[in-house]
């Protein structure tokens, strides 16, 4: 039935823990690093109703070094987060979903809760004929599965032997549609997960500006806007992409990585300031200067939220803040110390360069 054996789709079924809608969405967004098209379906983990992440890998496999390597990466990424999952790659989306669901059911049936995650199945595994899979792997719903089992229909092959008209009369169009999707006769209803819009801020000059003070002021204003956008999402920035568009000169761009997620405007300015001051702004007499400054938080992280606690000297590193004061976004002394250390590392790297701060070799 399938024209090519190249696996075009990867179906991932999280088994333990069963993710909620928000967690599944986050998982799907993380999968966007492997392919730009990701589909997610939420389920409660019951019979035939498993959460599903479907990756459309068409054109992406050469980037990842082939299907086996990508399969390993997916398995590693999920295992690193402690998520037991079933993953299957196939040329047909429906077949991949059916096999992954069947694998997930086998994992639940064989593995006790809390047991260590099983080794990921190789790509060539789960290659049993589709007709021998249980009908629950088609995701046709618990009621339909129960009704079919009452009449001793247990496998996909037995279900396929029943006439489509009889199936439609008894169960509606859903069962026939799943059968067609599993065989490749019908495409999966793919609803791509939208790409996350990173927090961003920009400042545009009315005319090219070559004044360092005005440029610094513009960067600070853009940082304030970026911090406001981050606060609205309750996130902190881990990496900022800076782009300074210059009239008559090529744009300057760069990325600054931060030690800890932060949305402290003063700290961000302390980190960006040495870099901004090194930028050649151009000559105003020649019509050169900065036209636009754009900041994009390309990587964000979680910032401890809640009521600020009193932490001795929890201010940004280098500001000389001492004594007792409220530390915004700090849960406890450990958070305050970690945040202060991250800010110290950022400042040292900003002035001394990348690689100036290291960990002792292991």
């Amino acid at each position: 039935m399938h024209a090519r054996a190249e696996p075009w789709f990867a179906a991932i079924v999280p088994v333990r823990p069963v993710p909620g809608p928000a967690a599944l969405r986050r998982m799907a967004e993380r999968c966007l690093k492997w392919t730009p098209r990701v589909h997610a379906e939420h389920g409660d983990g019951g019979a035939g109703d498993w959460p599903l992440i479907l990756l459309d890998l068409r054109g992406c496999l050469p980037v990842h070094g082939g299907a086996p390597r990508l399969h390993e990466r997916i398995a590693r990424a999920f295992a690193r987060r402690g998520i037991e999952h079933a993953c299957c790659m196939d040329a047909c989306a429906g077949a991949a979903v059916a096999r992954a669901t069947a694998h997930a059911m086998d994992m639940v049936a064989s593995g006790a809760p809390g047991a260590p995650a099983p080794r990921p199945a190789p790509v060539t595994a789960l290659r049993v004929p589709l007709d021998r899979l249980a009908i629950e792997s088609l995701r046709i719903g618990a009621d339909a599965c129960a009704a079919l089992r009452e009449v001793n229909v247990r496998t996909v092959g037995e279900l396929r032997a029943i006439g489509r008209a009889a199936l439609a009369d008894r169960f509606g169009p859903a069962v026939g549609m799943r059968l067609d999707q599993a065989s490749g006769a019908r495409a999966w209803d793919f609803v791509p997960v939208p790409h996350p819009d990173p927090p961003r801020a920009a400042f545009e000059f009315a005319s090219p500006c070559a004044c360092p003070e005005a440029t610094a002021l513009a960067v600070r204003r853009a940082i304030d806007d970026l911090c406001a956008a981050l606060a609205a999402r309750n996130r902190g920035v881990r990496a900022i992409a800076v782009r300074m568009e210059r009239a008559g000169l090529p744009a300057v761009r760069g990325t600054v990585h931060l030690g800890v997620p932060t949305r402290d405007a003063a700290h961000l300015w302390a980190v960006l300031r040495p870099r901004v001051e090194r930028v050649h702004l151009g000559h105003h007499e020649l019509g050169q200067g900065i036209e636009r400054i754009a900041l994009v938080a390309t990587r964000t992280g979680r910032v401890p939220d809640g009521t600020g606690v009193l932490v001795p000297g929890a201010g940004p590193a280098g500001t000389g803040a001492r004594g007792i004061r409220a530390a915004p976004g700090a849960h406890g002394p450990a958070d305050g110390a970690r945040r202060a250390l991250g800010e110290l590392v950022d400042q040292l790297v900003a002035r001394l360069g990348d690689g100036a701060v290291r960990r002792p070799a292991t």
């Binding site: 001795p312 000297g313 590193a317 001492r322 450990a334 250390l341 040292l348 960990r359 002792p360």
Partner: protein
Amino acid sequence: MLVQLAWRAVLQDDDGHPGRGRHVAWVGRAAWPMPDHLVRGLRGPVTAMFGAARVPSWPDARLHDRSILVDVPAHDDGARLWAIEQAARCPGVCAVVADGRGLSMPATRRLQLAAAGTLLLSMRGPERRAGERRTVPSACATRWWVTPAAGVREVPWLRAMHALAGRIAPEPAWSVRLERAKGLGIDPDACPEAVATEWWRTEGVPDAPARVHHAHVRRAARAESLRRARAS
């Protein structure tokens, strides 16, 4: 010595502020320690064979895990001073071990003001000793003179034992003398010269155990007698 003092700072920080996990900053390549020196108890299994007490929690890599190494340009004293000051001001740092060679009196005064609440250890270096140690002022609270003491390298059979042990490094030992204590009410001339051994770092204690101290005295005496015998 510096590793031992950094260990003391980490242990005191853990006792005073449990769970805070403040770090130790080593500023300047000259102040960087060997990575395996930051783990105490690496020699535990060997010393336990010879009757030493064995601590179940060893090897202890807390200092290794909570150390950051800062590399500053060797010729840029301003950048080094700035980095030391930033580290000393950081609330997430409990101790700063810095390469303080070439720092002037105003610079050390600036560092002393920045290091309120943080242990700051500044290495002066041997070149500052060449006839000008009295003329190079420093605002540091205490100044110590550390020299290598007679160790196992002087004793042939101990040196052979360490060679047979292979990768186990010999125990270095230092002679420590307090030169200056400003505002602490201590007379440096009244303080006897102390001997610090590698055991200090291993044990993580401020003073060497009595039996270790006696053993070191015996080794030093034997080394001295060997030197005399060679000289004669």
